[in-house]
Symmetry: none
Subunit: 214 residues, 4 copies
DNA sequence: GATGAATGAGCGTTCATTCAT
DNA sequence: TATGAATGAACGCTCATTCAT
């Protein structure tokens, strides 16, 4: 008798090759989950709500395509970060200096927020509601996390002499928090001018990082 | 003649003069709630957990002293902000310039975080998990909110010519987010050097706000 | 150690001599209970609601003056029936024939309903929601119950030859039910013409009971 | 596209085509609810009691098959009235005159009471314990209510000259109340002779309605 | 690949009542 | 005579998940 099998027989696991139909269903459920979490908040985004919004008759379909709630949440975060990276990465790659990349990071991130507010809200809800198991960020496998990437950017700027001396991790945490705070503000005030917000943040972090002219 | 009193008879309401014993119990429950929320997260901080941690026999005692969960949460937020203000206010009042107040705000806030991490974590959990009813911040009556107070500080600094021209609200949101991010970092890395963190933030926001020397 | 004492020491029992202040409090609570039951229904007429409406700070005062909920309910029924009897009895006594008494019973009862709708509604709510313990009517000590009194009236009318032969108990139950149904109709349609209703019922039961003229 | 569907996904709704197994479970739960309400009274007929009597492991199964308690109660009333109508309707249709229909209504209704006492008791309990929202009978969609149907019968009898002039609504309310009172009497005295009771009521309402011979 | 049926645990809340002054 | 404080039990309801096709 099977006891501790992680996935039931006949059900697609989170990893490994799914069929095309499988993948389409998964994407549909993930999309529905993103909307639910963004709109209702993490706590109220139950399987029932997600299934209903996805036009699915039974919550069973969710547990069929995902190993459990945790698995679904992981997929939601993965999808949101993937979409953000897909939008921002090309723009960042086109920049030639760390300071230009910093400005582009802020601007393109707020652009992404404008076009994908639900994705962002969902990730923030999840991040706020998921207990970090000791030493493990629940959101990301750590080294590829947004904060780590920013840290790396700041370090590069310091190495090439464009940025002053500061703790790259503190600066990275602060920048991420600043951008995430813009999401909260946008939610509270939907008519917020994100372009102006971006310009403010660019100026703020430009002064905060730039090496003073001699 | 009172007709539609919102609170049930025989139970102390949230407002109005409680007896000493009453107030002590309330404080005990609030303290227990703060610990629970900080430790378990908002979602898992059930009445059962709170009662258990408070050494109370039944959850009924909580509903007896508070009108409902919402009322308890409100009391938790109120208590946490009150404690923070009680710690920071005297120090802020002792400063004579906006820039000095800014540095003091950051430093004293991180000091408070060090000594009252649970209070801070609880408020952040609550803020993250409470849907803001349109136009109404669930956490505070708005005008006295931490962000609004910072906004005022920045405006004063601009008026006296100490700070450069920037959007005071964006700066205020960013500073609050930066400090709150420090709480998250402290949770993930308990050995974090908060003094160093404070120095980094002071330098960061000093440069971000200060009018350039001519 | 006291175990099965029916009433706590120092507390007035339901029977026996209360002081004047005691009686006044009891009356106040009974009045409040009547209003609550009539307005909210039996199920929602909790001690909390009753105490609140009575302007009493604690439900403890109710359990102090009454042995328990059952005792309070009994007092409510007793008071309502007493008030009805006090109103109707003199009018009934003034009648000289059973048929006149029948008409007066109907008319005066609907008059009482008009002036004391809450009393009537409360009794009906209680009657509907109290399980009759085997062989015992929960509402009344039986022999003095409204139905029993009507039964006696019908029997007298038959003995003096005014009423035809019929089962007095069926007729009594039907008349009581007919009058109680008027209360329900009045609740649903507050503008109901009770005088007309009374005339209809008088005609109905006059024909139902009267011995046909030869 | 469905957006605000009231029922949770994955659970069968009260309306619409259920599967056979679904319908059977629903019927089983309804039956258990009828017995519980009839036996314990409305207030004590909790999900726990109903589930226990139905031999169901958890109350969750009830919330699974019904949208909530209100929905279950609605189903109980519907089922009871349906069963009564199914029994009485053919017999009523076979009658050719209003007065014959009146007698048949009384007789067949008491017959139904004899064979389905729990159904009747349950409906009466529900009717007594459900607050009628202003203008809306909680029990029935009004136009098809038992009282309305009787009203129509009396009106027809008046039109064909069989019944005297009286208010049809008062007569209808009185007849329904008279029959319902028989249920109460049967509960208090299980050995009641319902045939005799029916004969008494037939005679009573025959005299109450019939046009006097000239 | 998909589904209906079923489940135990937990939620916040309300209940009448008792304890201790 | 009156009261605040405290209590265990029960309520309807929602949760993610498992069983059996």
């Amino acid at each position: 008798m099977r006891v501790n099998a992680p996935a039931a027989a006949g059900e697609p696991s989170a990893t490994g090759g799914q069929s095309v139909a499988n993948a389409a269903r998964r994407a549909q459920i993930i999309e529905s989950a993103i909307e639910c979490i963004a709109e209702l908040g993490y706590a109220r985004a139950s399987f029932a709500q997600i299934a209903q919004r996805a036009g699915i008759s039974s919550t069973r379909l969710i547990s069929y395509h995902f190993e459990g709630k945790e698995d679904l949440i992981r997929a939601v975060v993965h999808e949101a970060l993937r979409a953000a990276a897909a939008y921002m990465h090309p723009l960042l790659q086109a920049q030639t200096s760390p300071s230009a990349m910093l400005a582009t990071y802020i601007t393109s991130n707020l652009d992404f927020i404008r076009t994908h507010p639900a994705h962002i809200r969902a990730v923030l809800e999840i991040a706020a509601n998921t207990r970090p198991e000791p030493g493990v960020s629940a959101v990301e496998p750590d080294s590829a996390s947004p904060v780590a990437l920013l840290e790396q950017l700041f370090r590069q700027g310091q190495e090439v002499g464009e940025f002053r001396a500061f703790d790259p991790r503190v600066m990275a945490l602060t920048l991420r928090a600043a951008i995430d705070a813009a999401v909260g503000e946008l939610t509270a005030r939907p008519d917020l001018d994100l372009d102006a917000y971006a310009r403010e943040l660019v100026a703020l972090f430009d002064r905060a990082t730039r090496k003073e002219p001699t």
